[in-house]
Each structure stands twice: as structure tokens, then as C-alpha cells.
């Protein structure tokens, strides 16, 4: 396999980081500050996408920055899996940066400079993680992401947000300082390096199966951003953050960093062969199946819209892992493209939740009766994105579910097939009533807390509505034209 030495991955990191400093510098001039975010987002995406042809042609791009430890450089390596993650993070940042401006200004939030600066650094961390060439580089960015999103979660600085952010940081840093540290140390002890490799770093070592299984469990628990139950509780707690944060970070960047890291471990640290030898694939499949079903059941019981979406995220993240651990080509492709498909649809749903909050100050599902007439764009987008989440063709979610279903048949795992179908029914059960309520129920004023008496004032906010309509359209379009992510996924699977 051919590798190319290029500084481009570094450039893609440099932009959002520089943007963060410029944002701090421009704190007195909000227009300039917010334009910086937008411009940085576009440029970052362009640099990322400029690497796509190289990756799709089967080559990788590398750049070594420092020598850290014997066998462990601080190094970047762009491959297909990294491209999937970097593409969605940088592309969706463009929409989120417009949306955030609309949201933060209409909600008159405080500390906007801190917000936008932290946001930029989060993207820096996400792209850095995507392009990491080894476990060391990956966890550097993994931790940066945990820490820099902390101020975004406690943003409101109310008692509730301090509680939520505490849970957030305890779960994320707690698991990484214990299990992840142990996993990395053991891997380094066994192999003497930490590089990702296509065959799997731990393949062909003399370590005992028991030790390898312990390492695997430590990795799975340590990367708790993947929100596998019972290590998911930080995600609903993080919903105290302003909605743009929940949308881009807690539906895309942070949680995808989690599943991305888990996939790295499965594909490039253990390798599919070793996973199969140790029987870890099916064991994990059952754990994440439990998560898929339980999180959906939790989602059904949530009246708070954002919490319902959060539990839905927990469930959908496990789809990605499920696809990977079934270890058949189709299931792996399904899991990988689901990273992208879920990202576009879920960010749309969160954007909608924020739009409803900004326009009508409503946060609970039960308050949404009749809101579709006031916010037709928002609720139509919500409907389209729900279809994608449920997996209705031709929306994006259908593609991933299709591959997952074929994969579970290929793996001859009928229970997994049943899990997938049950989950689809549950998805429909917690998403469709919202659309139904919004369009077909009469507004019931006595439920509508803060918005009471201002029903006439509810209208779409353009800077909020435009991004969400676009992401909704895209989540249908990548269902019809799934080629980009599918070819990247195939590029990973054929190795």
C-alpha cells in the first residue's frame, strides 16, 4: 500500500485551532468572531475533502510530527476510516456554525466567545482523533475533546448544568484514567508500540487469550464516549448544554469519537481475525444489542425532547459497533456508513429541538401539539430525519440498516436480526408520535408553559431554520447517492 507524506492533515488541524485563538481575539466584535467560525469551518472541510481522492484510490497520507516514546511517534495518518469521521465532523461544522450564531443570538446566551472558541477546539480535537496514526495520538485528542467540551456542557452555569457537567467529566475522564490507561499500558507492554495496523496491532503476539480479553474489555469501557451501557449516563446528562452543542458535539463529534475509537480498536488494534479467534465479536454483539433495545425503551419514556434524542443516540451508536463486531463484510460496511448516516439525521433532529426552543421555548414532547403549523420547515425536517433514523427508504438510515440486516444474515445470527427489527419498531414508536402531534393535534394551551400567551409570536428563525433544512435534505440525498461513504467503508473492509 502506497503512502504519501503530506502536511495536509496538519493543516486541517491547524485551521480550527487558529480559529479558536482568533475567536478569543475578536471577542469585542461578534460579527467578525462568528464569521471566523464559519470561514474556518469551510476551509477545514475543503482541506479534509481534498484528501479524499487519494484515500479513495487506496493510498494513505502520513505526517510525523514528533518522536514521543520508543516505537511511539506523535503522528498523523489519514486512511478511509479517519476520512469518514473527519468528513462528517468538518462538513457538519459548517452548518452548525451558522446554526449556532442564530441560536446563541436569538436565545441571548452569555459567554458566547467562550462558547465559539471551545467549539472550534472541539473540531480540532475531532479531526485530530480522526487522523491519529496510533493509540497515543488518538488519546491525546480524545482527552482534549473531553476537556474542551466541559465548558460547553456547564455553559449555562446553573445548578442543573453543574450537576450534568460533573457527571459528564466524571464518566469520561474517570473511565479513561482507569480502563483506557490500563489498556494502553498493557498494549504497549505486549507489543512495544502503539501503531494502528491493517492486520491488527495485537495479532501475532504471544500474549495469552485471557490477557488479550482483559485488554479488550479495558478498551471498550475506557472509550466510554461510545456510550455502551452501562457507561452511557454521561450522554443524557450532557443535554444541559445549549442545543448546538448537543447537535454537533453530542450527536456527532464526541460520540463519534467514541465509536470511531472503538472501531479503531476492533479493526486496527485487534484486527478482525483475532476478534474472531477470541470470540470477542459475538460477545460484544450481545452487549450492544442490549444497549440498542434498552436505550430505545428509555427513549420511549422520555418526555424531554433532547433527552429522548440522547437515548436514541445511545441506541444508534451501538448499531455502529454491532456492525463492526459481526465481522462480516456487509455488517462492517453497514456499521461504518452508519457513522455518517446517523450524524446527518441526528444533527437535524437536534437542530429542530433547538429551533423549537428558540422559537417557542418548548422543551417537552407533550408541549408540541400543533407546533407544525407554526414551524412547518422545522417540523418537516424533523419528519424527514426521523424517517432516516427509522430506516425508511430512500433516507440515509435505510442504507446502513440494509447492510446491517444482510450482515446479520451472513453471520447466521437470527437473534441479532430480531434485535434490528425490534429496534426499528421502537424507533418508529418514539419518533413518529412527535410528528403526528406537531401536525395533527390541536394546540393545547394549558400545557405550553413558557410559551403561553405568545402563541402568535412563534415563527421560524431563518439562521436556525436554513441549516436544519439543508441537513435534512442531505440526509435524504446520501440515501439516494451513498457512494462516497460506501466506497470509503469498502476501502476499510477489503483490507
Amino acid at each position: 500500500m502506497e503512502t504519501i507524506e503530506s502536511i495536509r492533515p496538519l493543516l486541517a488541524l491547524f485551521l480550527p485551532l487558529t480559529a479558536a485563538f482568533l475567536i478569543l481575539f475578536f471577542q469585542k466584535t461578534p460579527n467578525l468572531r462568528d464569521a471566523t467560525s464559519f470561514l474556518a469551518a469551510i476551509l477545514t472541510f475543503l482541506i479534509v475533502i481534498s484528501m479524499a481522492p487519494v484515500i479513495l484510490s487506496g493510498r494513505t497520507i502520513e505526517y510525523t510530527l514528533f518522536n514521543t516514546l520508543p516505537g511511539v511517534p506523535f503522528k498523523f495518518r489519514v486512511d478511509a476510516l479517519g476520512m469518514v469521521f473527519a468528513t462528517i465532523a468538518s462538513f457538519l461544522w459548517i452548518f452548525a456554525s451558522v446554526y449556532s450564531v442564530g441560536y446563541m443570538r436569538s436565545a441571548k446566551e452569555h459567554a458566547q466567545t467562550r462558547f465559539f472558541a471551545s467549539f472550534s477546539v472541539s473540531i480540532f480535537a475531532a479531526v485530530g482523533g480522526a487522523f491519529a496514526a496510533n493509540l497515543f495520538t488518538l488519546i491525546v485528542f480524545y482527552e482534549v475533546l473531553s476537556l474542551v467540551t466541559y465548558p460547553l456542557v456547564y455553559h449555562k452555569e446553573t445548578e442543573e448544568s453543574w450537576q450534568g457537567s460533573k457527571k459528564y467529566v466524571v464518566y469520561l475522564v474517570g473511565t479513561s484514567k482507569t480502563f483506557l490507561l490500563a489498556a494502553i499500558a498493557l498494549t504497549y507492554y505486549i507489543t512495544g508500540n502503539l501503531d494502528f495496523s491493517d492486520q491488527g496491532l495485537l495479532a501475532n503476539t504471544s500474549a495469552s487469550p485471557l490477557l488479550l480479553t482483559v485488554v479488550y474489555i479495558c478498551f471498550m469501557v475506557g472509550f466510554s464516549k461510545a456510550a455502551i451501557m452501562p457507561f452511557h449516563a454521561w450522554l443524557p446528562a450532557a443535554m444541559v448544554a445549549p442545543t448546538p452543542v448537543s447537535a454537533l458535539l453530542h450527536a456527532v463529534a464526541v460520540v463519534k469519537m467514541g465509536v470511531f475509537s472503538v472501531l479503531r480498536v476492533i479493526f486496527h488494534v485487534f484486527g478482525t481475525k483475532l476478534m474472531a479467534e477470541l470470540n470477542l465479536g459475538m460477545a460484544t454483539a450481545y452487549v450492544v444489542s442490549f444497549t440498542i433495545i434498552m436505550a430505545s425503551v428509555y427513549a420511549l419514556t422520555q418526555d424531554n425532547l433532547k433527552r429522548r434524542l440522547a437515548y436514541s443516540t445511545v441506541s444508534q451508536l451501538s448499531y455502529v459497533i454491532l456492525g463492526a463486531v459481526l465481522l462480516t463484510p456487509s455488517s462492517m460496511i453497514g456499521g461504518i456508513v452508519h457513522i455518517a448516516n446517523h450524524a446527518f439525521s441526528k444533527i437535524t433532529l437536534f437542530f429542530c429541538a433547538g429551533s423549537i426552543y428558540c422559537a417557542a421555548h418548548k422543551t417537552e414532547v407533550s408541549q408540541l401539539s400543533g407546533i407544525g403549523r407554526k414551524l412547518p420547515w422545522t417540523m418537516t425536517a424533523f419528519f424527514l430525519a426521523s424517517l432516516s433514523m427509522i430506516g425508511v427508504p430512500p433516507a440515509a438510515g435505510f442504507i446502513s440498516k440494509w447492510y446491517l440486516v444482510i450482515g446479520s444474515v451472513e453471520a447466521k445470527e437470527i437473534p441479532i436480526l430480531i434485535v434490528l427489527l425490534t429496534s426499528t419498531i421502537l424507533n418508529a414508536a418514539y419518533f413518529l408520535p412527535i410528528t403526528y402531534k406537531a401536525f395533527f393535534e390541536e394546540p393545547n394551551d394549558h400545557h405550553s408553559g413558557g410559551g403561553h400567551g405568545h402563541e402568535g409570536d412563534i415563527k421560524e428563525i431563518p439562521m436556525v431554520a436554513i441549516p436544519l433544512v439543508l441537513t435534512a435534505i442531505i440526509s435524504i440525498l446520501i440515501g439516494i447517492y451513498p457512494n462516497y461513504f460506501l466506497s470509503l467503508a469498502k476501502e476499510i473492509v477489503i483490507r
Partner: protein
């Protein structure tokens, strides 16, 4: 007897770096103006730091032999020589001591208002003694430097300390003196057992009989374990830290604690390989206890300085753990972590001193909202807190990773237990940061606090530079010690083989 020693610079650079501060102290005797005293002290320590840089740059990484050696007859009748030299281990600590020297002066700039001249003289004498300890290759000379640290440190705590300073200074003095006596006994036994010589290099090549090994190891171990301090010899440390002025705390945490672990590495481990592996398990157990127990104690503290003091016990537990797992990964991790702990904890004490000057309290409960009042200060504090809890990308993570990796090679249970301490570190340090930096501004003292000035920024920025430098690009630092550590392990293995045959 002495192998291929050389001095690539051709000037007695180790004597210069050692005695420059002493010369500065002598000059200060004749200066009356307090402002001038500060500037001279700063100039001398900065110059000393600049002298230490070429030592590091010209250090030959390919040999374990002592470098920049100076060797003169001193007291022939006792076979005492003036013998200075550094290898890949001690050269790092000469650098560390020289780095923290000028940072101590910066930290004392406004904090010390009484008897400025006497304070700066103590500081400079202290620096000469500390650097001397790391360079000395003659036991007599080593002991001289070692004891020379006692008086200025006693004065720094006892004269310029807090309310309870006399008690703390006396406790520090007694503990250290007790340790010194054990060391003196050890040195005398070695002098006779090793053929009437104080030459450390010559003694390292001796093969001592088993009883000598086992007993003298213990004597040295107690002497140095008090200094580290290892559990259960740690109780003097929190008192000394809380009462000491900022510069005193920086010296204590940054350099003095490292003397304990440096001593362990240089004498008992290098001279008594058999005893080292004999006692390795109990010492590893003590280290793990220190890691966890120190962590829990830190968790319970309400005084910021005490919290960092107890965290030092936990972090130094990692260092001794790394050293006594007796493999290259662990020992290199331990040595790197000594350097890291010196930089990071030195920086944290500097931070505490800086904010104490503004608010005059160290109670956690009195703090809140520093991020809003003093943003630049809080950014530096965040960097050092993250470094102290060993977030990947900072210096301590590399050390911790190497130590735990090495520990996994020694015993998986002990390695697993030590990770509990790593987690506790995250809890108390992040808890402390949240309490003092975030939320609403808690008092008018904090609202009126002024942000860091140029001198303070310079000191913090240099330390922060090392935090990230070692954190992302630690290879150059590991390269320096690599050959020396490998030599130490080789020595242990061959000598170990020798004892296995005579048993």
C-alpha cells in the same frame, strides 16, 4: 580504576554551575538595597540556568560513563577527592535544579518583604548544595553537599514560613537529620568494606558480601525514603509544605524530593543489586500504598497547599514504583517522572503562591470564579493541573504510562492497583480546579485580584513549554538517560548472576 572519563567542554563547567550561586551569595553580603538584591539574585540564577544548558546540549548520549569530570586530590590521608561528574541520570537533575532556581527567585519577588537579603542568600546557598549533590562522585563531598542543604532550608521554612513555621522547620530538620545519620553509617561501612575509598564509581564496581549488601541497603533506603518521602516516612512533608514560603515549597517539591529517589537510584540500586532485587517486592508494596493512600489523603484536604503536598506523596509513589519494578521501561519512566514532577508540582506551588499574594488565603472554600477574574492565570493553572493528573499530551502522562507499563512487566496486580491512584489524582485535581476556577467570583479579594505580571508569565510559560515538550516529544529526554539506565540494568543482571553462583 576510573574508566574513560572525559570532559568534552574543557572547562570545569560542573564546578561553575555548582558554585556560581554561592559566589552570588557572597556578593549579596555586601549589598544593602533590597531591590538590588532581588535583581542580583535573579541575574545569578538565570546565569546559572544558562550555564546548565550547554551541559545538556554537549552531553554525549552514547555512553554511560561520567562526563564533564573534574577529579582532584583533596585530603589524601583519608583518600578524599574532589570528584564531580554527571551521567545520563544526574545531568537531568542538574538542569532541573538550575531551571527551578530562577523560578524560585521570581516566586519570592513580592512574597518576601522581610530580610530579603538573607532570604536570597539562603536560596543561593541552597542551590549550590542541591546542584552539588547531583554532581558529587565522592561520598565525602556528597555528604558535605547533602548536609549543606539542611541549614538554608531550615532557615527558609523557619524564618520566612507561615504561622506554625517553627514546628514545621524543626520537624523537617529532625526527620532529615535522622535520615542523614543512617546514611553516614552506611557511608562509613562502605568506606571500610570497599577498601578505604569514598570514590562512588569505584564503590559501584565492588562486589560486597551479602550481609553488607542487605544491611547497608537498608540504611541507605531509610535515609532516602525519608527524603522522597515514602510511606510511612511521609508525615513531615505536608507540614513543611504548608508552612514554607512559595520558593521553599518549589525547592522542596521540585528538587529535594528528587534527591531521595536519585539517591536510591545512585547508591543502593547501583551498588547492591542483590539487595535491590531482594527488597524489591516490599518496596513496590510501599510505593503502591503511597500512591493510593496519598491520593485519598489529598482527596480529604481543604487547604490547597496541603492538597498538592499529599498529591506529591502519591506521585512520588509512582516514581519509586517505576524504579523498583527493575526493568528499563519502569526505571526510565521513574526518572522521567522525577523530572516531570519537579516541573509540574514546582509550577503548581508557584501558582498557589501567586494567588496567595492576591487573596491571602489557601482555603479551597474561599475560592471560586478565578477564571472570570484572572483568565491568564487560570489558563496556566489549568495546564499544570492537567499535567499533574497526567492527561495524555502532557509530560506526566508519558512518565505514568512508562511506569505502569513497566509495572505490568513486574506484577499485574500491583500495576492494576496503582491505576486507582491515577484515577484519584483526576478526582482531587479536577475537583480542586473546578472549585477555585469555575463558577461565580466568590469574594471581593478575588474580584480585586490582578492578573499575572510579565515575570510570572515568563516563569509559568517556560514551565508550560516543558509540560508540552516532554508530553509530545519526550524522545530527546529519554535518549539522554537511556544508555545510563541500560548500563544500570546490565550491572544488576551480571552482578546478580555472580551472587547466584556464590550462594
Amino acid at each position: 580504576m576510573i574508566e574513560a572519563v572525559h570532559n568534552s567542554l574543557g572547562i570545569p563547567i560542573l564546578s561553575i554551575v555548582t558554585f556560581l550561586p554561592l559566589a552570588g551569595a557572597a556578593v549579596l553580603l555586601f549589598v544593602r538595597n533590597a531591590g538590588l538584591v532581588r535583581w542580583i539574585a535573579l541575574a545569578v540564577t538565570v546565569a546559572d540556568f544558562l550555564v546548565s544548558i550547554p551541559i545538556l546540549l554537549n552531553f554525549d548520549r552514547t555512553t554511560y560513563h561520567m562526563q564533564f569530570v573534574e577529579h582532584y586530590q583533596w585530603i589524601p590521608s583519608w583518600n578524599i577527592t574532589y570528584f564531580m561528574g554527571v551521567d545520563g541520570i544526574s545531568v537531568l537533575f542538574v538542569f532541573l535544579a538550575a531551571l527551578l532556581g530562577w523560578i524560585c527567585v521570581v516566586a519570592s519577588w513580592k512574597a518576601i518583604e522581610q530580610k530579603v537579603k538573607e532570604f536570597m542568600i539562603s536560596l543561593l546557598v541552597m542551590q549550590t548544595a542541591m546542584i552539588g549533590v547531583f554532581c558529587a562522585l565522592d561520598f565525602f563531598l556528597f555528604y558535605l553537599f547533602w548536609e549543606a542543604m539542611l541549614i538554608p532550608m531550615y532557615l527558609i521554612i523557619g524564618v520566612w514560613g507561615g504561622k506554625n513555621r517553627i514546628y514545621a522547620a524543626f520537624k523537617f530538620f529532625l526527620y532529615t537529620l535522622a535520615g542523614s545519620i543512617f546514611m553516614l553509617i552506611g557511608i562509613i561501612v562502605l568506606y571500610f568494606a570497599g577498601g578505604e575509598t569514598f570514590d562512588i564509581i569505584a564503590l559501584m564496581q565492588q562486589k560486597f558480601s551479602l550481609p553488607v549488601q542487605l544491611w547497608v541497603f537498608l540504611a541507605f533506603f531509610i535515609a532516602f525514603a525519608i527524603k522522597v518521602p515514602m510511606f510511612p516516612f511521609h508525615t513531615w512533608l505536608p507540614d513543611a509544605h504548608v508552612e514554607a514560603p512559595t520558593a521553599g515549597s518549589i525547592i522542596l517539591a521540585g528538587v529535594l524530593l528528587k534527591m531521595g529517589t536519585y539517591g536510591l537510584l545512585r547508591f543502593p540500586m547501583a551498588m547492591f543489586p542483590y539487595a535491590t532485587s531482594y527488597y524489591a517486592v516490599p518496596i513496590v508494596v510501599l510505593s503502591v500504598i503511597a500512591i493510593i493512600y496519598g491520593g485519598f489523603l489529598a482527596l480529604a484536604q481543604t487547604d490547597i497547599k496541603k492538597l498538592i503536598a499529599y498529591s506529591s506523596i502519591s506521585h512520588m509513589g509512582f516514581v519509586t514504583l517505576g524504579l523498583f519494578v527493575l526493568n528499563a521501561t519502569g526505571i526510565e519512566g521513574g526518572i522521567l517522572q522525577m523530572l516531570n514532577h519537579g516541573i509540574t508540582t514546582g509550577a503548581l506551588f508557584l501558582c498557589i503562591g501567586v494567588i496567595y499574594e492576591r487573596t491571602h488565603t489557601r482555603e479551597l472554600a474561599a475560592y471560586g470564579g478565578l477564571a472570570k477574574a484572572v483568565p491568564i492565570y487560570t489558563t496556566f493553572l489549568a495546564i499544570f493541573v492537567l499535567s499533574s493528573l497526567a492527561i495524555p499530551g502532557t509530560n506526566s502522562f508519558i512518565g505514568e504510562l512508562l511506569i505502569i507499563t513497566g509495572a505490568f512487566g513486574f506484577n499485574k496486580v500491583f500495576a492494576g492497583l496503582s491505576i486507582i491512584g491515577a484515577m484519584l489524582g483526576a478526582v482531587y485535581l479536577l475537583g480542586m480546579y473546578k472549585k477555585i476556577a469555575l463558577g461565580e467570583v466568590s469574594s471581593h479579594h478575588i474580584r480585586e485580584a490582578w492578573d499575572v505580571d510579565g515575570r510570572e508569565i515568563a516563569a509559568m510559560a517556560v514551565l508550560a513549554l516543558f509540560v508540552f515538550w516532554i508530553g509530545l516529544n519526550s524522545a530527546p529526554f529519554l535518549d539522554i538517560m537511556h544508555v545510563s539506565v541500560n548500563h544500570l540494568i546490565e550491572q544488576m543482571n551480571t552482578v546478580h548472576g555472580y551472587y547466584a553462583t556464590i550462594k
